[in-house]
Each structure stands twice: as structure tokens, then as C-alpha cells.
């Protein structure tokens, strides 16, 4: 099957976020959609379209990905829990459906909802878009010393998200198109096909805030992530399909950093170790 360049699918910029994060739940289509029953599924076979879309954008059933931490930073999970409690009003609670996305993707095509995903199994709480949470989260992760000196991101344009998944919640099969970051950094001429911009390579890193626990699953390509430790940092390879879920008992807290990794920013490992 011919692969579509991502730039043709995602040429449109994301729309602006709603001014009030509560609008995402208040205006949810998913929350008002009826259950997809087994009979519906067998009659309509909505999986075929989702699968065709996935294959046409690079998913396959063979590719493996062996995830290894590229760094480990100091994290105090309790600080993040405190942050969440103190910043409820700036929390973006949303379901896996089209909100501000644009272009051709699984959300604008409404594929997950038609396959059975709903507002009670795709609920995500995140911070980083509203209020001053971006600034606060950067500091919680260690500020410029960690984000720029240790991990190599351009600090000012790096974008952090803190993600909380309760037991029973799933982030379905997708690849990251970093639409919000692209929208905010048009001045850097980002290119989604090769994931570069004027400053260097565009990257997304995954940071484990809480330790892995039963049922905390992250599948990248056709491989499962190892059981992670709090503070471990992993590269999410560009354009590669993945999914994650909390089918366990404890809360799953992770963070992502999206931005430009500039080689010259990286502290050599030995210096990082000594520091």
C-alpha cells in the first residue's frame, strides 16, 4: 500500500484551543454518542477503515521497537500530584475525539469513536496548555538545566505535557503529529515529513513520572515498552504508531516534551553524571 506523506494529510494548522478547557467535555460529541455494540461492529466493520488509514500512514504488523531509556532525571512524583491538585482549573480533560485538530487523521475521520472508543474509556487529564502550567511543569522537570542542558531541547520552544490516565483509560493507536507545537512554532519552518525545523530535529520524549505498575501499557510499533522507572526518559520515534493504556490499578502519570533537540545543547554524559 502506498504511504501518504504526512504533510499531505496534516497540511492544515490545528485550530486554536478553546479559551475555557471545560468546553472540551461540555461540547463532546463522544460523550453523547450511543454505545457501539458487538452487533453494530460485526455489521459495520468500522475497524477496516481505521486499519486502512493506519497502514496507509505507515503502520505494519512486523516492525519492532526496542525502547531503552536515553536518560534518567530526578523526579519526585508527589510534587506532580500536588501540582495536579493545585491546578485543577487549568486541567485539560478530554476524550479521544476531534477537538482542535485539523487535516486528515484518525480523529478528524472519527475512526476511534466508530470502533467503540467512548468518553468512559479514553478520558485524559493533561496540563501544559492552559494558564501558567507550561512554565510550572518545566520547572518541576528541572528547568533549563534538565530540559536544555541534559536532554538537549531548546528550552524556550520546548512544550511539556503532563498526562494522567486513570485505570480503565486508553489512548488508542496513533502517531504523534505534534500539531500544537507546529502551530506555535510556524516561524521555525517545521517540516512534518522529515521532522526538522530551522533550529534542528523535532523530537518528542516520554518521561515516566510514576513507576510502571501492573497494566500500565505502552506499545510502540509491535513491541511493548519495558517496565519503566520514575524519571526515565525515552525517545518516541518520529512518525511511528503507538498506543498506551492504564488497564491496571494505580494512576499512570507520564510527561512528554516536544521540541527541537540541538546537539550542541547536550551535556556529554560524563559531565551529566558528575553534576
Amino acid at each position: 500500500m502506498a504511504l501518504f506523506p504526512k504533510s499531505t494529510l496534516l497540511s492544515k494548522k490545528y485550530n486554536d484551543l478553546p479559551g475555557d478547557p471545560k468546553e472540551l467535555v461540555a461540547n463532546s460529541v463522544m460523550a453523547n454518542s450511543p454505545e457501539v455494540t458487538l452487533e453494530d461492529f460485526m455489521n459495520n466493520r468500522p475497524d477496516k477503515e481505521y486499519e486502512t488509514y493506519a497502514v496507509s500512514t505507515g503502520a505494519d504488523l512486523e516492525t519492532e521497537y526496542k525502547a531503552k531509556p536515553i536518560s534518567r532525571i530526578k523526579i519526585i512524583p508527589e510534587q506532580f500530584e500536588m501540582f495536579m491538585k493545585d491546578n485543577m482549573e487549568h486541567c485539560e480533560k478530554k476524550y479521544y475525539e476531534k477537538t482542535y485538530q485539523a487535516g486528515v487523521n484518525e480523529l478528524t475521520l472519527n475512526l476511534p469513536l466508530r470502533c467503540g472508543y467512548n468518553h468512559r474509556n479514553t478520558c485524559e487529564y493533561n496540563w501544559g496548555e492552559y494558564g501558567d502550567t507550561q512554565k510550572k511543569l518545566k520547572l518541576l522537570l528541572g528547568g533549563k538545566e534538565t530540559i536544555e542542558d541534559e536532554l538537549g531541547f531548546d528550552y524556550d520552544t520546548a512544550s511539556v505535557r503532563l498526562l494522567a490516565y486513570l485505570p480503565g483509560q486508553i489512548l488508542p493507536w496513533h502517531f504523534d503529529n505534534m500539531g500544537n507545537w507546529f502551530k506555535k512554532n510556524q516561524g521555525l519552518n517545521p517540516n512534518i515529513d522529515n521532522m526538522t525545523c530551522d533550529l534542528g530535529d523535532i523530537k518528542r520524549y516520554f518521561i515516566a513520572i510514576t513507576e510502571w505498575h501492573w497494566g500500565h501499557v505502552l506499545q510502540i510499533a509491535n513491541s511493548y515498552f519495558p517496565r519503566w522507572k520514575s524519571g526515565e526518559v525515552y525517545d518516541i520515534p518520529k512518525g511511528v504508531y503507538h498506543l498506551s493504556a492504564n488497564i491496571g490499578i494505580r494512576l499512570k502519570l507520564t510527561a512528554s516534551i516536544t521540541g527541537v533537540v540541538k546537539e550542541r545543547n547536550k551535556t556529554p554524559p560524563i559531565l551529566s553524571f558528575l553534576r
Binding site: 454505545e35 457501539v36 458487538l38 452487533e39 461492529f41 460485526m42 475497524d47 481505521y50 486499519e51 493506519a54 503502520a59 504488523l61 500530584e81 495536579m84 491538585k85 485543577m88 486541567c91 480533560k93 475512526l111 476511534p112 470502533c115 467503540g116 472508543y117 467512548n118 468518553h119 468512559r120 474509556n121 479514553t122 487529564y125 494522567a164 486513570l166 485505570p167 480503565g168 483509560q169 486508553i170 488508542p172 493507536w173 505498575h213 501492573w214 497494566g215 501499557v217 506499545q219 509491535n222 511493548y224 517496565r227 504508531y241 498506543l243 493504556a245 488497564i247 491496571g248 490499578i249 494505580r250 494512576l251
Partner: protein, 264 residues
């Protein structure tokens, strides 16, 4: 990890199943529950009770399980799809909550999954094997008596089957199998679930894959993930080891569990 709860205490003696399979949805407590929000979870910390129970049944964060198929059956996936379409009336649709026949000290009798956020839209299971003639029909779909004898190795006449259908977005949370329905149905075989023995031999739970593995089809057993399975593969699910599974992909996930006495 020291096991504080024996399987017999978790399962106790199951009562008889309700006559009407529609009762599970119609009378569901879970379907009436309000959402557990993040703020509820942070305030109430319902995970602590669930985790304590999990430790009490022997869960830990270190034990691995390397799953390997015991045998391979020649099955036709479409036969099972046709069966499901033709046998809606014997389907048990349920959520992950206490059912009327449950007893004992289990995650369901204590309502632990629901308190942690599991609900009627993320734990839907459709299964066949308990109602009408579905047990016999699914047995036959898996193979002849000869196949059962040669490749499955579970006593055909007393085996209890469950054909399980999970739509995308549906989860079977952390639990261990206690074979309560099989033990109730086979009291005359003097089943001892703690020793996993009965008069015919060892009591086993096998899993037959009906569909090929696809993205997001996950089975975590102890602290290990099942490999990407092929349809027809038969796996042992050792009792009473904890596990969970989910369909967080896009294709339907179909599996079939077999409970019964090993014949080889």
C-alpha cells in the same frame, strides 16, 4: 510474595447462574455509577485497597511468565463470527462487577475495580458458554473429540468453554482465575481449587486464540506480556496467577477459555 488468600477463599462456592442472561446488564450496579474523576481518585485513593487485595492473592512486581503455545488447532475464525451472529440469545453480556452467583473475598465482591474507575463502557464482555447449548456448540467449533484428546488434552465431557469477544476499548482488569463456575458444575468430581486437582486429574485453564493478534490486543500475565499470538494457538493460563487483558486496538479480539480436567 506470601499469599494470604487461597483461591477457595476468593471464589468460595458459586451460586447458580440467573436463568436470563439479560439480567447482567439490566440489573447492573456499575451502569448506574457516576464517573470516578481524577479528583475523586486522588482524594480517596481506591487503588490502595485493590492493590492490597492483589498482593493478598499473590501478585508481585517481579514474577515473569513466558507464555508458549502448547498446541495449535485448525480453526476457522469465520465459524465463530457466524456462531456469535446466530446465537445472540445465549450471549452473556456483562461488565466487570459482582455477578449474582459470586461469593468469597474477591475484587468483585469488594467492588474494587469500580471504585478505581472501571465502568460499564470500558469493561464490556460478550461471552458464550454458560447459557443454552452454547457450551456444546463452541466445543464442537474447536474440534472433534479426537482433536480434544490429541491437541487440547482437557476432558471433553466436563470442559466448560467461554468464547470471549472484546470490542476495542474494553478491558478485563487485574484478577486471577478461580474456575468458580466449573467447580460448581462439577461438584461430583470433588474439585479442590487450592490443590488444583479433581478426581479426573489436574484442573486447568487453557486459552485458545480465535483471532490473530493485532495492534492493541494485550494479555499481561504476571509481569510479562503474551507474545503476538496466532489463531488456533492453545496456551496454559496457570491457576491462580494474576493477569489482565484488553483490546486497545481496532480489530475485534476473540479468544476462548477452556476450564476442565487435564487428560494428558
Amino acid at each position: 510474595m506470601e499469599r494470604k488468600l487461597k483461591p477457595s477463599q476468593v471464589m468460595s462456592n458459586y451460586k447458580n447462574i440467573p436463568a436470563d442472561p439479560k439480567i447482567y446488564v439490566r440489573d447492573s450496579l456499575m451502569a448506574q455509577q457516576s464517573e470516578v474523576t481524577l479528583w475523586d481518585f486522588l482524594e480517596d485513593r481506591p487503588d490502595k485497597d485493590y492493590e492490597k487485595w492483589a498482593h493478598d492473592i499473590g501478585s508481585d512486581l517481579t514474577t515473569e511468565y513466558e507464555a508458549k503455545p502448547l498446541s495449535q488447532l485448525d480453526i476457522n475464525e469465520q465459524d465463530f463470527i457466524d456462531f456469535m451472529r446466530d446465537n445472540k440469545q445465549t450471549c452473556q453480556k456483562k461488565f466487570y462487577e459482582r455477578r449474582p452467583y459470586h461469593n468469597g473475598v474477591s475484587e468483585l465482591t469488594m467492588n474494587l475495580p469500580m471504585k478505581c474507575g472501571y465502568n460499564e463502557r470500558n469493561t464490556i464482555e460478550y461471552n458464550w458458554g454458560l447459557y443454552g447449548d452454547s457450551n456444546q456448540k463452541v466445543k464442537e467449533l474447536l474440534g472433534s473429540r479426537q482433536v480434544w484428546e490429541d491437541k487440547i488434552g482437557i476432558d471433553y465431557d466436563t470442559a466448560l468453554i467461554r468464547l470471549l469477544a472484546y470490542l476495542p476499548g474494553q478491558i478485563l482488569p487485574w484478577h486471577h482465575d478461580n474456575l468458580g463456575n466449573w467447580c460448581r458444575n462439577n461438584k461430583d468430581l470433588n474439585p479442590d481449587i487450592d490443590a488444583q486437582m479433581c478426581d479426573l486429574g489436574p484442573i486447568k485453564r487453557y486459552l485458545v486464540m480465535i483471532t490473530d493478534w493485532h495492534w492493541g490486543h494485550v494479555l499481561q500475565f504476571q509481569n510479562s506480556y503474551f507474545p503476538r499470538w496466532k489463531k488456533g494457538e492453545v496456551y496454559d493460563l496457570p491457576i491462580p496467577q494474576p493477569h489482565c487483558s484488553a483490546n486497545m486496538g481496532m480489530r475485534l479480539k476473540l479468544t476462548c477459555s477452556i476450564s476442565g480436567a487435564a487428560t494428558k
